[in-house]
Amino acid sequence: MRMRHAVIGGLLALAYVLSPSAHAALAGQESVDMAVQILAEGRLDDGRQALVEAATALPPVEATRLLRMAQTLAALHPGMRPTAARAIVLAHRGSVDRATDALVEAVEAADVAEPGQGAALLVFAARLAETADQHERSEALYTRVVEGHRESASWPEAVLALSERRLAAERDLSSAATDLEDLIVERPTHPLVPTARLVLQRLQEAIGR
């Protein structure tokens, strides 16, 4: 019986591997690996471009993650890009902690000359932590951005992410609502503001309960 199950499982696995989608997924993964390898070699622009190209071969949700990385690299000041690239490499290799640490250290090293760059790195770190299910760390990083980088372009994303977590955990609801109100008032045209309004409404309902 056990044997039969193993055979069936093996056949299914083989069928999956041989299927076009699986083939594409494997090819996409290879492309990602290749892109990360290029980044690891310090060829940042090529690596970023490779990430974008790899994204085209992945399912949409996976592609979004890669594109996020590429966009972060593009948006950062040239001086900050190696740090981000290193973090990407580390995260890809499973060292999410080290990756986030590297990013946070870079921010704390106070060599972030361009305004908003620190926030971008912290949000990037928070996203990496999130993918590794390090929710507390992620929340802490978002909190840093919300509290300390109000003027940055990453602030709305951080506010929304933090508020949703607080809503889910049903804590600091008032504070979250205040942050969302600030976001709606200060960045009324940001793409995330319509979602922020919904979250605010839910927060207020939760507070009312």
Partner: protein
């Protein structure tokens, strides 16, 4: 023997008596009838005046009566004798009584005497028996005799019955006349024997008297004591008045004679005057004078006519007057005489009419002379004719635009606006242009078609002349009228200066600023239109006719939108012309050309295909009067209008920026040019070759520096308005440097030594160069900031798209296995994603608002992502939706990812383009344009240096620099000709390179003259043309051209030229001085306004 008793005799006597009475009655009747006839005759003969003295008629009539009586008596006697004869009577009685014949006669004889032998008794008995047989009335017994007598009596009575009524009628009709007539019969002898007095004399007899004037009628009545004046006015009853005769004359005054009146006098003795007439006469009046004017043919004036009051006649010399008129009475003569003597005119007379032709030869007051048939002058004559003969004046002209020395447009075609007038008509206008120092001379005629006044718009076309910047062309306008002599007037000589590159730059700036103003106006109108009435709710059904108000509203909206679209098209076309003209004129500024091209594209995008199609559809709907369809089309067009308005607003910002950028470039270039000339002057100042000239040149440059500084200050303000603080600070620094340069220039002017002056001038040149560099840096910073702004906008778009993609991914996870209620909740989350995509679109538009760059495809991808998100929301609301909500969410994520990639790619491209621009990487066409720009710059330098009259050494130094520049152009051209991949013909490149080399050698040899300048310009145009050829080749490569079969075309109807086409104007333009004070845009508006005013009424809408 005694006779028998007289019984029969009595009876016969009785009968006789009866017959006798009848006879007498007849006599009386006949006499009465005769008298009645005579009385009637008397009534007739007497007339209305009665019997005249000495007339025998009454006597004759009386005799007639007597004769009638005599005759009647004789007739009676005769008849009585017959009727009363005894035999007849006896026989009549016998017959009446039925007695035997002779019975009565025998009885009568017996009664008179009984014959002897006859018994008396028997006789008596016989008489008795006869008497007894005579029974009956006398009338019965009268028998035949009685009947005759009665017949006579009846005849008389009948005659009387006929005549008596006539007499009574006469009596009744005119009792007085009857009395006079019959009274005369009673005194015939008196009348016959009466004294015959002289006839009555009446004065003034039959005459005409002035109507309404008093008249006295005198009657000379010798021998009478009184006289009666009778008169009968027209329309009145006859009247009479008795007047006493004093001194043999009676006077009858009449206070007023208003109508014709017959009158006569009568004296009591029956004397009657003739009947005279008093006719009221009006004064001699000359009425209905008509003066027709026939003007000389060359005046082109149509004939005129005056009737009644003739005003002062200001008429061209040679005008013929045809005069006709009519008087109230027949005329003897008619004419005109110059007041105070002199010429006169006589007219033909026919009855009361007069007329004739007359051509006055002198200006004068001409008085009318009339005489009637009796030689009397009229009481009233028409007012004198005031004739002013106007000689053919010389035509007049006024050059309204440009009206003073000015700069010729870069097209080398100078439009002129000339107000031309003549008293009669204009034949043609000629614009003569010539160069003071050149062989060119041209006369360009413009036919005016004989109009008396016009706003002529000749175009002085000098495009075929070889003009270089700084050249001057003289021109004047000559005007010839249409008189046989062809009288001519000409304007002053004006100067057209060929613009320098600096002028062109400012022209371009002015055109852009004008475009901004026009766009602002359009934006206002579009805003008002958007705020205007919206279509009413379409409760109509298909095919329903439109309400009038709805149709008018729709038509108005359509017309307005068309007008706005047309203006946008016009503006776009003007920009295209401007770009070409700038290049032709020598301003090969690539930045400007790019700006103009981009602005043009922006304008073209406004009139989207959708909008154009929408307008056509609406027009068709309105024609078909389908209310529902029209309202729907109108609604859709308004949506497109909203898009049009938004694009207009966005374009406006871009135009403003382009105008300021052009100002920036022009100011910087001017600063550089000024620095260059100041440096050249510095060298000349050191040499002290001509101190007076140099001082003048220094003062001129200082004045230019002042102007430049003012422009910099204005630029600062404009930059401030755009929010370009960094650039504004740079402009301020440049202004400060320029101020310092001016100070140095002043010091140079006041310096004691040439060396010192040169140093100061050199210092000023450096400061101006600093100003130019500051501006250049600021300009670069602006461009850099703009690039960053675009990059940031694109990156934000990418960030936003990815954030939304993540959000969408989360929603997708939640959709899986969600209940219906949860699905419903997720719809609002999905709607938030859609709204976020909309925000992203708005943010991108805002970020690219000022940018000349575009992000091709990004906007479309945002729309795609938005549409996918909407589809996902729809899938959430449908049970069993295919694709499922999760699958649809996947597609939304994919769309957002594609958007992010596109935005990242666009941001990269922007960065690369910026880097490439900084590095100088160019394509062949761009290289060629760059070379053209360099050549234009060299040409400009030559044009600036040539008139400076620098010393040999200073000029040599400057020319060395120019030669190096020219040499660089030659080298680049040589390199391009050697480029194996070059598109341009090798031979062309080589030829241009050789020409550039030749010019460089000329410059190096110190030769800078007109010929050199012209060669430079020709080379510039060849480079320009080469660039265009390359551009065309690139376009041809990039576009796959497909030939199309020619479609049908409509043959336009060629209308005859209208007054407006000929430039005739009812409302003259404002003065030249006024127009000159306006900006080009304002001037255009004013000219358009007057053109609209002067359009024919049918075209005014």
């Amino acid at each position: 023997m005694s006779p028998a008793p007289r019984a029969v005799s009595r009876i016969v006597d009785t009968v006789r008596g009866y017959v006798n009475s009848r006879a007498r009655l007849g006599l009386a009747a006949w006499v009465a009838a005769a008298v009645a006839v005579v009385l009637a005759l008397a009534w007739i003969l007497v007339g209305s005046e009665g019997w005249r003295a000495g007339t025998p008629l009454p006597l004759l009539l009386d005799l007639l009566i007597v004769l009638a009586l005599v005759q009647a008596w004789r007739e009676l006697a005769s008849r009585r004798e017959r009727w009363l004869a005894e035999r007849l009577v006896s026989r009549s009685v016998e017959r009446a009584a039925g007695l035997p014949r002779g019975t009565v006669l025998e009885s009568l004889e017996l009664e008179r005497a009984v014959p002897k032998g006859t018994s008396a008794g028997l006789a008596n008995l016989a008489v008795q028996q006869t008497a007894a047989g005579l029974t009956g009335s006398p009338s019965h017994l009268a028998g035949q005799s009685g009947r005759l007598a009665e017949g006579w009596a009846r005849s008389g009575l009948k005659a009387l019955a006929v005549t008596a009524p006539l007499t009574l009628l006469a009596l009744g009709l005119a009792p007085e006349r009857a009395a006079q007539a019959w009274a005369g019969l009673l005194r015939p002898v008196q009348l016959l024997a009466g004294e015959v007095l002289p006839p009555l004399e009446v004065m003034p007899g039959s005459v005409e008297v002035a109507r309404g004037t008093p008249v006295e009628i005198d009657v000379v009545a010798v021998g009478r004591e009184e006289v009666t004046l009778h008169w009968r006015a027209v329309g009145d009853v006859p009247r009479s008045r008795v007047g006493a005769v004093e001194n043999e004359q009676a006077r009858f005054p009449f206070p007023s004679v208003d109508v014709a009146m017959d009158y006569w006098a009568q004296a009591p003795d029956g004397a009657v005057s003739d009947v005279f007439t008093l006719a009221p006469a009006d004064p001699l009046l000359v009425t209905d004078v008509q003066v027709s004017l026939t003007f000389p043919p060359h005046t082109g004036r149509t004939a005129e006519e005056y009737r009644g009051v003739v005003p002062r006649l200001a008429i061209p010399f040679g005008t013929r007057l045809r005069i006709v008129g009519r008087a109230s009475r027949p005329l003897g003569s008619a004419g005109l005489e110059e007041a105070g003597g002199g010429t006169s005119a006589r007219f033909d007379v026919s009855g009361p009419s007069f007329g004739g032709d007359w051509t006055p030869r002198r200006s004068a007051l001409y008085e009318w002379t009339f005489l009637d048939a009796r030689g009397e002058r009229p009481g009233v004559v028409p007012a004198p004719l005031d004739v002013v003969l106007v000689p053919d004046a010389f035509p007049s002209l006024r050059v309204l635009y440009p009206a003073r020395d000015t700069v010729i447009p870069i097209t080398r075609r100078q439009p002129l606006v000339v107000d031309v007038r003549d008293d009669y008509g204009l034949d043609r206008l000629e614009v003569e242009a010539f160069r003071g120092d050149g062989p060119e001379r041209t006369v360009q005629p413009l036919s005016l078609g004989g109009v008396p006044a016009a706003i002529a718009r000749p175009l002085l076309d000098l495009s075929q002349w070889s003009l270089v910047p700084g050249d001057s062309v003289l021109y004047r306008v000559r005007l010839i009228d249409n008189s046989p002599a062809g009288q001519t007037t000409q304007s002053d000589v004006h100067i057209l200066r060929v613009p320098t590159v600096s002028d062109l730059r400012r022209d371009a700036q002015a055109e852009l600023e004008d475009a901004v103003r026009r766009l602002e106006e359009l934006a206002d109108r579009a805003r008002q239109e958007a705020e205007g009435a919206r279509p009413t709710d379409a409760s109509n059904r298909a095919g329903d006719p439109m309400e009038f108000g709805d149709r008018e509203q729709a038509r108005t909206s359509l017309d307005r939108q068309r007008e706005m679209s047309r203006e946008v098209e016009e503006l776009s076309a003007e920009l295209e012309r401007l770009a070409a003209a700038m290049q032709d004129g020598g301003l090969a500024d690539q930045d400007l050309q790019k700006d103009l091209q981009e602005l043009q594209e922006l304008l073209n995008e406004m009139n989207s295909d959708d909008l154009v199609q929408q307008m056509q559809d609406l027009e068709e709907s309105l024609s078909e009067e389908d209310a529902r369809r029209a309202m729907e089309e109108l609604r859709q067009m308004m949506e497109n209008q909203e898009e049009f308005r938004q694009m207009l607003e966005e374009s406006l910002e871009r135009f403003r920026r382009a105008a300021v950028e052009q100002d920036f470039r022009a100011t910087r270039e001017e600063a550089e040019e000024l620095a260059r000339r100041e440096r050249a002057l510095a060298e000349a100042l050191r040499e002290q070759d001509n101190p007076e000239l140099r001082n003048r040149q220094q003062a001129a440059l200082e004045a230019e520096a002042e102007t430049l500084q003012q422009r910099m200050e204005r630029l600062q303000d404009n930059l401030g308005e755009l929010g370009e603080q960094v650039a504004q600070r740079s402009a301020q620094e440049a202004s400060t440097s320029t101020e310092q340069a001016r100070q140095s220039m002043r010091e140079a002017s006041e310096a004691q030594s040439g060396e010192q002056a040169g140093e100061r001038a050199e210092q000023a040149a450096d400061q101006l160069q600093q100003a130019a560099e500051a501006l250049e840096q600021a300009q670069d910073r602006m461009a850099e900031e703009l690039t960053k702004q675009v990059q940031a906008a694109l990156q934000q778009t990418a960030e936003g798209a990815l954030a939304l993609a993540e959000r969408q991914a989360e929603l997708r996870d939640q959709m899986r296995g969600a209940t219906r209620e949860e699905m419903a909740d997720l719809r609002s989350d999905q709607a938030a994603v859609t709204e976020g995509a909309r925000n992203m679109s708005r943010n991108l538009e805002e970020g690219l608002r000022f940018s000349p760059m575009d992000a091709p495809g990004v906007s479309e991808l945002i729309d795609d992502a938005q549409a996918e998100s909407e589809r996902t929301a729809e899938a959430l609301g449908r049970r069993g939706s295919n694709p499922s909500p999760a699958a649809s969410a996947d597609r939304t994520v994919h769309a957002l990812n594609r958007l992010a990639m596109s935005a990242m790619n666009a941001a990269d491209q922007v960065a690369q383009a910026s880097a490439q621009q900084q590095a100088g990487g160019e394509q062949s066409q761009e290289q060629m344009d760059q070379l053209a720009e360099q050549q234009a710059d060299l040409m400009n330098q030559s044009a600036q240096m040539m008139p400076m009259q620098l010393s040999q050494q200073a000029m040599a130094q400057q020319m060395q620099q120019m030669a190096q520049g020219q040499q660089a152009v030659a080298s680049d051209l040589g390199e391009m000709s050697n480029d194996p991949g070059g598109e341009q013909s090798m031979a062309d490149m080589e030829a241009m390179a050789q020409e550039a080399q030749a010019i460089a050698e000329l410059l190096a040899g110190g030769r800078l003259d007109r010929e050199t300048l012209e060669r430079q310009e020709r080379l510039f145009h060849r480079l320009l043309e080469a660039g265009r050829s390359l551009e065309r080749e690139e376009d041809e490569e990039s576009e796959e051209r497909q030939s199309e079969a020619p479609g049908e075309f409509e043959r336009g109807q060629i209308s005859p030229l209208t007054d407006a086409d000929l430039g005739r104007a009812r409302f003259p333009l404002p003065s030249a001085a006024f127009l000159a004070r306006l900006t080009p845009g304002e001037r255009r508006l004013v000219l358009q306004y007057f053109e609209r005013l002067n359009r024919p009424p049918g075209e005014i809408r």
